[in-house]
Symmetry: C2
């Protein structure tokens, strides 16, 4: 039964799903829905996902959206997925759910929403892809023809850093992966793809934010190794977006002079 | 094995868990952690949940936080829980996960976060209990000694209404419960307890917001019936908070004159 994955590699939950599929040798078709071009807003895509967001999947006649729900579904249906991704043990599984829920209400939210303007916020929520307040104000605001807010960016950076510290102190104890595990779960993929979104920022910004978080840096490296070569391959998209974004930013600065 | 539920009935995810436990005849101890008194911030409670949020559970030697993760865990471990609450069928289950994730990223977030001041926002996120922008600005701001923002409240109301309309058009089709089901899932409980938080507002505000959403009103009624008498009993707490909140608001208005 054919699995179709509707996604945009610029979106971190899209990447998590693509990496999961590839790391588990799933047979699937990747269908790119470019958010930057508004392809998620078409009536055709509303037939796939009425929420008009990526990622979404169609598996035979079954349609599903929300990335965590998709990861769980795929871990439960792709043949031969190893137990460590989504453990059958009820307590181990509960801990994975807890991290995924925390991701929704903290890392993603705390770092994305607090620090953008109201207009920006509406767009952030609407697009569901430009996650970080820090990123929004340093990189993406310009794409929407909005001024970035340096104060908001600084505040966003501080909050983001606090979330990263929380992950380190709470979940990166006793093992290379989250929850002290020796192998990754779907929660590692979801959170790692969120953190790597920072790579869209300029190298300096990325390095400054990551510098104190040595455990996070090692963890990302371990997630990359555990899913090689797919993590790197799928993330190439965000790195190649850096230059065009830099140009857009320069053009906007030129206009406002 | 003893189940301890740490909660505050003023918190909607706490209520969802309490109702679930009672509706499924779980043996458990309810341990009240009063957020209004800062009891979730004590070192003792940090031993229960390092995130210092309610709800949290301890089941034997197993500790868990995040309300959706807890609902899933309880549905999987409380003896005799009927399948409809958290279906074993992988697709039915996936749909429940999808609604729960949507709740995290839309109803809860959209209605709570967009419309409060930055200072208020920090508190909202921190406390994880005062969910609605509308509610925050009409009711809770005063408790924190902050002025409510009528414009933000109006904007919050609009957004909240859009989320309710989305639930109606997408999930309340073809059956009394979410996803067109004939019996409730844990997602019904989670979302219904979010919506009923509005009852903390004055009756007029509640009625105005709910008026166009006849399907939501019927659905809440059906959730109440399906879990009677527990839904009503657990929600008595928020209704009894109305008067003290009204007094606080009046005192604050008097001071600012």
């Amino acid at each position: 039964m054919e699995l179709k994955v509707y996604c945009d590699r610029m979106s971190q939950p899209s990447r998590a799903i693509l990496i999961f599929c590839k790391a588990n040798n799933a047979e699937f078709e990747e269908i790119t829905v470019e958010i930057g071009k508004g392809q998620h807003r078409t009536p055709e895509f509303a037939e796939v996902n009425p929420m008009k967001q990526v990622p979404a999947v169609i598996h035979g006649d079954f349609k599903l959206f929300e990335s965590h729900a998709i990861l769980i579904y795929l871990a439960s249906t792709i043949p031969g997925v190893a137990d460590h991704w989504y453990p059958a043990d009820v307590r181990e599984r509960a801990k994975v759910h807890s991290v995924l829920d925390w991701h929704h209400t903290n890392l993603r939210r705390g770092s994305e929403l607090r620090c953008v303007s109201r207009k920006g916020l509406a767009m952030v929520v609407e697009s569901h892809v430009y996650r970080f307040g820090y990123l929004f104000n340093t990189v993406f605001a310009v794409v929407f023809g909005m001024p970035g807010d340096p104060k908001a960016a600084a505040e966003g950076e501080k909050l983001l850093s606090a979330s990263l510290a929380r992950i380190e102190s709470l979940w990166l104890q006793g093992g290379p992966f989250l929850l002290g595990n020796s192998k990754p779960t779907i929660a590692d993929l979801a959170l790692a793809c969120e953190v790597t979104q920072l790579e869209v920022a300029d190298q300096n910004g990325h390095d400054r934010i990551m510098k104190p978080h040595t455990k996070i840096v090692k963890w990302i490296k371990d997630v990359k190794s555990a899913t090689a070569p797919h993590f790197e391959e799928i993330h190439a998209a965000i790195r190649s977006a850096r230059e065009p974004l830099k140009k857009l930013k320069a053009q906007a600065a030129h206009k406002s002079e």
